[in-house]
């Protein structure tokens, strides 16, 4: 358990950056920016959106289960990193979920409607909608509390649904909406708005770098058909996590794997998972479409938690169940190759203590937990474990899309990430391996704001890139290399 935040920290975390006129106009005091929210009759519109969603989905039967069995035992309170930091009872997971469950009970169950009529209760009010708009974005949807609920309430699912309904009445963080708009309707078709020529330039540049560093021609194959894997990293990695991508490419080169990046679509990010099933659906379809266009056999996701989860769990949901292409995370591929002996890693390169942060979206349901640890232990001199970890890990504090909302950074690094920072501090590690674009961004900001600058946040493939040993046969021959040096080219020109 962690110490609650001080009053000073609270003020810092909740300090709003928006102007009073804006707040007055949107009539909503939330800490994130929104675009064109519906202002009048919010409660009514919320109920309409809720009804539309219930009509077309199966959420109703899940909510029935939760409404009937919620025991209010308050066990989940001990698990939530947000509540542990704020100690504001409104951050108790069961309270948060009750916000939505009570609307369901009152407006969509017979008993609730009768009781409401008899007792003359007003039902949902605009204030309640506002409270939800704040509360569902305080939660990082990490689902740690779910493991501790004896009656099996999945607060991550309730938060997910709450945000979906809110987004249908125009209340969603602008950061996520804009990116999704560019991805689905924009010219570049990806969340970072990277045009294809710029992508190709970047990759070429990285290839040159790698050849210089490793003496091996490491390629990013583009638009190749019939590959085993079509690769979708979080597209922001092309701008911010070059080391991770170079690690991916190095691994595929060393193992002779068949993979490609498609210029038709190359973004693993799916903010639909954070605020709208409707978008989630449309985005996973783009991934599958591109994979089919290139006649690829499997979808390979880069180091990114939510991209992995949204592909792994929602490609089958939205793209034809068993007929959909299988989804593999790049760490799984790396692990298999290591076991087959196709990768050699130098055990003398990474000597500082290393620890591993489980991204919630990869570990919570028990998907990939031991593999990255085994990989790290195989070549890092000193590996330290965080506690708790694995399925029961603590969220970085930027989960559920909140990391992309820059205006709430003070909240994320004082409240959401407080527990994580203390956990990392205890390990004394130099490297925190976080195989997720979101976790990396959040953890870097967290380390900076918590004054832990000597900790380095890296991807698993970043370290692998440093330590990888290539077979001599792959090395570019001396003469070959000389030919390509600038002088050689100049000479030729002369």
């Amino acid at each position: 358990m962690i110490k609650p935040i001080t009053e000073e920290e609270r003020q810092h975390a909740f300090k709003t950056q928006r102007k009073p006129e804006v707040l007055e106009k949107q009539k909503l005091d939330v800490r994130y920016h929104i675009e064109d929210p519906v202002v009048d009759g919010r409660a009514q519109k919320f109920l309409e959106a809720f009804a539309a969603i219930l009509k077309n989905t199966n959420y109703g039967f899940v909510l029935d289960q939760y409404v009937r069995s919620s025991a209010k035992c308050s066990r989940c309170a001990t698990e939530c990193q947000v509540y542990q930091a704020t100690r504001d009872p409104k951050d108790i997971p069961c309270y948060r979920s009750e916000l939505l469950l009570s609307v369901y009970r009152r407006h969509f169950t017979v008993g609730g409607m009768l009781r409401g009529r008899v007792l003359g209760s007003k039902g949902l009010t605009d204030e309640k909608v506002n409270e939800m708009a704040e509360s569902f974005w305080n939660c990082t949807a990490c689902r740690r509390c779910t493991l501790q609920c004896p009656v099996g309430i999945d607060h991550g699912l309730v938060t997910h649904l709450g945000r979906y309904i809110l987004s249908e009445i125009g209340i969603a963080p602008r950061a996520l909406v804009i990116s999704t708009r560019e991805q689905l309707e924009g010219k570049t078709g990806n969340t970072s708005a990277i045009p294809v020529p710029a992508l190709l330039d970047t990759l070429e540049f990285l290839e040159e770098d790698m050849e210089e560093e490793k003496g091996v021609k490491i390629k990013f194959p583009i638009d190749q058909e019939d590959c085993e894997y079509v690769f979708f990293p979080a597209v922001s990695d092309f701008l911010m996590e070059a080391d991770t991508l170079m690690g991916n490419a190095a691994v595929f080169t060393a193992t002779g794997g068949s993979w490609t990046i498609g210029t038709g679509y190359f973004d693993g990010i799916n903010y639909g998972l954070f605020y709208s099933d409707r978008m989630l659906d449309r985005i996973v379809k783009k991934v599958v479409e591109e994979t089919r266009r290139l006649k690829g056999r499997k979808i390979l996701i880069g180091e990114c938690g939510h991209a992995s989860r949204s592909a792994k769990y929602f490609v089958p949901v939205f793209c034809g169940g068993k007929d959909a292409p299988p989804v593999v995370n790049c760490m799984e591929y790396l692990y298999d190759m290591l076991k087959e002996g196709k990768i050699k890693l130098d055990p003398n390169v990474i000597t500082d203590p290393v620890t591993y942060h489980d991204p919630c979206n990869i570990a919570r349901q028990g998907w990939i937990i031991d593999k990255p640890r085994e990989i790290l232990k195989s070549f890092c001199k000193s590996y330290v474990e965080m506690t708790p970890s694995g399925k029961n890990n603590i969220c970085c504090g930027g989960g559920g899309g909140t990391v992309s909302i820059d205006e709430i950074r003070p909240y994320r690094t004082t409240i959401g990430g407080k527990a994580k920072a203390e956990q990392i501090r205890k390990t004394g590690a130099k490297y925190v391996v976080a195989p997720c674009a979101n976790c990396k961004k959040q953890l870097r900001e967290l380390m900076e704001d918590q004054g832990m600058d000597d900790v380095e946040i890296v991807g698993l493939h970043d370290l692998v890139y440093k330590a990888i040993i290539f077979d001599e046969s792959l090395k570019v021959k001396k003469e070959e290399k000389e030919e390509e040096t600038p002088e050689a080219v100049e000479k030729e020109v002369e």
Partner: protein, 234 residues
Amino acid sequence: MQPLMDFVAGPLFRLTFAIMLLGLLRIVVLTVWGVIQARRQTDDKVMPWKLITENTLGWLVPVLRLWKTRPIYSVVSFVFHIGLILVPIFLIGHIQLIRESIGIGWPVLSDNLADILTIVTMVTAVALFLGRLFSKEARFISRPQDYVWPVLLAIPFATGYVCNNMAIGAGVYQWTMLFHMLSAELIFVFIPFTKIAHCVLVPFSQMVSTLGWKFPPRSGEGVAETLGKKEMPV
């Protein structure tokens, strides 16, 4: 007095018991139906059965899961549930009544054990009540029924214990017994309509939550259409 006793022990008992059974049956049927529907509608039929079973069974022995974070609470609530389930079903007095009326019976708890369990159940009920009252978190999220239940559940245990173990006059005995039966019947009636419904829902909870994430494939388009947003930009 006797006619009242007969009524409470006879027709009223049967009525309330039937309400409980039918009410619980209704919930189970609805839940199973929901599970079948959800499974039918989704394209992703793969269920992580191992994980679901593990989690479902894990919660049958919650002490194992919780002793780290809330040791006292976890033991207390576990013991409370044990007594709550075992005593009414395996008490010799109850079994005799059942045998007399419908002719079947099953093994019973020894008197001593039953007494101990009864006391333990009462004590833990009080502890849970106080725990709720004095925990800031629990108090904040509690509804009235959350306070009423531990008290209500303890009443049949207390009255039953008095009748079985204390030297009391026939008159007092009758009244206590009446109170015993009435409180139990009140409990029967409320079970299906309150949080105690978790007694039949918990086995389904992990499955339901798993299926909750398996959306019907065209749900998004459906929502857009219902809301008239089909052609609207993101």
